[in-house]
Symmetry: C2
Subunit: 359 residues, 2 copies
């Protein structure tokens, strides 16, 4: 059954295809990449690197379909700019310019559009990047059924406003950066720059109408400054990725698969605010699988871990940074969580639709 | 009244905001550009030029919301690739790489998606450009009211499938190209590479269920090869633009406004197939305002007009190329059509919703 009650076979797109999990991976690997196959696309990274005289270029793109359009801590405009800037930054690129393409649904209030465009401008300024070109399309208004999501009261906050945003970004790759999962070895340390799960939980709390004792706010923020500080520290970063859809669990699975090693993470070391933990419990969600929009996972050799931590702690966006685990020489390659009470459980890459329309 | 019957004031987005006409221009000038203001965006060209060591970069983006997704002569995938390649080409850039971002609606048949992705690949190959990065989102299925368009039977072909495509493109600007409407002078010649209005009429004929004696096919095609041939001819092209939404009328208005001169076009010289003319008459549309996806308007000094025509005529996509008019020294700056019977009429930039969801 689909979210809207229509029976859907395997021959049609289902909501879970968009969740950033295993099902989306299969859609991309089986339906999208083969016809388009080329060397750069096959990498399936957050963006593509192109040789260019005077400095390699990175190109990346993301569409945003989040609902509601405004949520505590951000909105779809901030999300779009930060998300694309972050995709460039984790490729080791300095963002140069963004494009902004809007699909507006008939009936969208112009004052809401104005607020979102202002947020685009503010976030771009914050990231030090310009929106240099754009496109606008309008689609007819459509009747939208309420999203039906685990832990969500159906119809509680049916989206009334339609706006889809795409941002593409061009960046210039920093010389000397060697990001490659094949360089990752046993003993390498895994770090994250702060408390997880805040974006997904903030959006979900609005949708579900649940209020928590402290206000949950999305962590959505451009990370290019923090990432530049980490790279400037001289640490030899082997891999970094912002943990969006699929959460930290998705990135840890990428690391484990990419280097064919087990990744061991300690639950007690993973930064998670008391409010976020409480919210995840109430909503029945594993915070490791919940989306972030301002968190980056780094992999470095043990000798460089203190440099990364130091650079993070000296930056406003890394005050709660922590080393959360390491790569170990165990087969088969899995993501293992050492729980607070000392048990172990395997962390699965989320399959599909934990949180539709989360970004 | 909106297409769906809801009353819409001026404080909300209406379908006409997306038509490529005057209303869309105002939306962009009043709501989008001011908050984002920077030197490059203010130009409102098809893309932005960025200085880059080793050759200036051009970045462009377009979203595609056409319905139906497949139409005679093309589909949304071909449209997306050709459209973005053409935006780069008319900026004087050689396309280097494209991104592809898909928003899939729950329920989209996977075999339809497969056909469209194959079409993306085929068109990219035709244009000599690679799709190097992408993104996929899924949105819940929504009930779509039939489009209500002039000349269209309501509900005749209500879209059942949901797919929005964004392509962004990066290109390298050819050295020596000096595209600038301020260089346009009285006496300069305006040319187009072939028969107009075919894309819009092909899409409309499917939507309306009207059949014509010959099949109308969209002209959607990558123009980068033709445009390279024109530039290689040595002609000093002062301005070129592909005539998409808003049709040839929109581009002529851009030229007239940009150089503050009157543009005089001869109806009898504008290439228009018999089938297209017949279809436009039946649908009650002015072919000058109907969308094209494979037609470029060039402005050159009179001495260079023969070179452009020669280069076009030697190319498969320019067999029907023609000089259709010229820039004249008359005030106020208008677009004037000299009709077949020798009368004159002012050609207005289309106001809004001639053809929603046309690209």
């Amino acid at each position: 059954m689909s979210a809207t009650g229509a029976p859907l076979g395997h021959d049609r797109v289902v909501i879970a295809h968009g969740g950033g999990g295993e099902l989306m991976g299969r859609l991309i690997r089986e339906h999208l990449v083969p016809p388009l196959r080329n060397e750069r696309l096959a990498g399936l990274a957050d963006g593509a690197v192109m040789s260019w005289p005077g400095g390699d270029l990175v190109l990346t793109t993301d569409s945003y379909v989040v609902t509601p359009l405004e949520f505590p801590g951000g909105d779809i405009g901030r999300l779009a700019v930060a998300g694309t800037v972050n995709d460039l930054a984790v490729m080791g690129a300095t963002p140069i310019a963004l494009s902004l393409a809007l699909i507006l649904e008939e009936g969208l209030p112009l004052d809401l559009l104005d607020r979102i465009i202002k947020s685009v401008a503010t976030t771009a300024h914050e990231a030090g990047v310009e929106v240099v070109t754009g496109d606008t399309k309008v689609i007819e208004r459509r009747t939208t059924p309420a999203l039906s999501v685990k832990g969500e009261q159906p119809g509680a906050a049916a989206p009334q406003e339609g706006l889809f945003v795409n941002t593409a970004g061009v960046g210039r790759r920093r010389p000397g950066v060697r990001l490659d999962l094949r360089r990752v070895e046993p003993g390498d340390v895994i770090l994250v720059n702060g408390g997880i799960a805040e974006h997904g939980l903030a959006v979900m709390s609005v949708r579900s109408g649940i209020e928590f004792e402290s206000v949950l706010r999305s962590d959505v923020v451009p990370l290019n400054g923090l990432i530049a500080a980490v790279l400037d520290s001289g640490a030899d970063v082997k891999f970094m990725r912002d943990a969006t859809r699929g959460g930290i669990a998705g990135v840890l699975a990428d690391i484990s698969e990419g280097c064919a090693r087990t990744v061991e993470v300690h639950e007690a070391r993973v930064p998670l605010s008391r409010t976020a933990r409480h919210a995840a419990e109430m909503l029945g969600l594993d915070p490791l699988t919940v989306a972030n929009e301002g968190k980056c996972v780094f992999v470095v050799a043990e000798k460089d871990a203190a440099r990364v931590l130091g650079a993070c702690h000296a930056h406003a966006l890394g005050a709660d940074a922590a080393a959360i685990g390491r790569v170990v020489d165990r087969s088969p390659p899995l993501v293992e969580l050492v729980t607070r009470v000392g048990g172990r459980r395997v962390v699965q890459r989320p399959y599909g639709e934990e949180l539709p329309r989360i970004c």
